[in-house]
């Protein structure tokens, strides 16, 4: 699987990670899955509502997720995943990430070192195996073009 973002979306996630450093930032990825690619249409920055504070954990409020879900539905899109930052920790899922993860979402993790985003990695849960598998992250100049191309391929032209 490949998670495909535009350079603008990637930049906005980087900025969010820097802005919330040394806390963890989080957000939702609205898009669509075509074949083996998840195309992000909108990266939505959200507030970290974790009850233990944002230092080592993140939580997305139901009310925020409901709003994101509505936006996705209106655009006939899906929530393809979520992003969060790992301040001064590698962009590898923690045990806590694994315990709270769902299948089929992409979990994009940004490592920030001294507030600077240094690594972008995305993961998908294999529920049966109880572990995450890494997926590719592709940053695209023009996502619409890429998606149209994939749709044409899917239709077999």
């Amino acid at each position: 699987m490949t998670l495909i973002l535009t350079i603008d979306q990637e930049a906005s996630i980087r900025q969010h990670a820097t802005r919330d450093y040394p806390g963890e930032c989080c957000g939702a990825l609205i898009g669509e899955t075509i074949g083996a690619g998840s195309y992000v249409r909108l990266a939505v920055p959200l507030s970290n509502r974790h009850e233990d504070g944002p230092d080592r954990r993140f939580r997305i409020a139901d009310a925020d997720l409901l709003q994101v879900e509505k936006i996705a539905r209106r655009g006939r899109l899906n929530i393809v995943g979520f992003y969060h930052s790992h301040p001064d920790v590698p962009a590898v899922p923690s045990n806590y990430d694994r315990e709270h993860a769902w299948e089929d979402y992409s979990y994009l993790i940004v490592e920030t070192a001294n507030g600077e985003p240094v690594s972008f990695r995305s993961w998908k849960l294999d529920l049966d195996a109880g572990r995450f598998n890494e997926e590719n992250v592709q940053v695209s100049q023009c996502i619409l073009e890429k998606s149209a191309e994939a749709q044409v391929q899917k239709l077999g032209f």
Binding site: D62, N78, D97, H100, W102, Y107
Partner: protein, 91 residues
């Protein structure tokens, strides 16, 4: 009464990839029962061994968490949408 149930991405695989399912029901409990009857694979992801909705799954009617309405006894009307919202957290 026809009620639409929106499924989050991780549960769509158990409903033939559909993002929503329409069921006939008068209460939230009936709607969830109808949903799992039409898509049995969903049951273990929605309910615990006692048949209660799992703690990390929330069922919303409009903007209201049905746990804070009348739970499974919450009445639904034709055209209502129930949204199943997964708890999203990590570290």
């Amino acid at each position: 009464m026809s009620v639409i149930i929106s499924l989050p991405t991780p549960l769509q695989r158990y409903a033939a990839g559909q993002p929503e399912v329409t069921v006939e029901a008068a209460t939230v409990g009936e709607a969830l029962k109808a949903l799992t009857e039409s898509t049995p694979a969903l049951a273990q992801h929605l309910f615990d061994a006692k048949g209660n909705v799992r703690s990390y799954v929330n069922v919303y009617l409009g903007d209201e968490d049905t746990r804070y309405l009348q739970g499974n006894d919450t009445q639904v009307s034709s055209g209502d949408r129930l949204v199943i919202v997964p708890s999203i957290a990590g570290g």
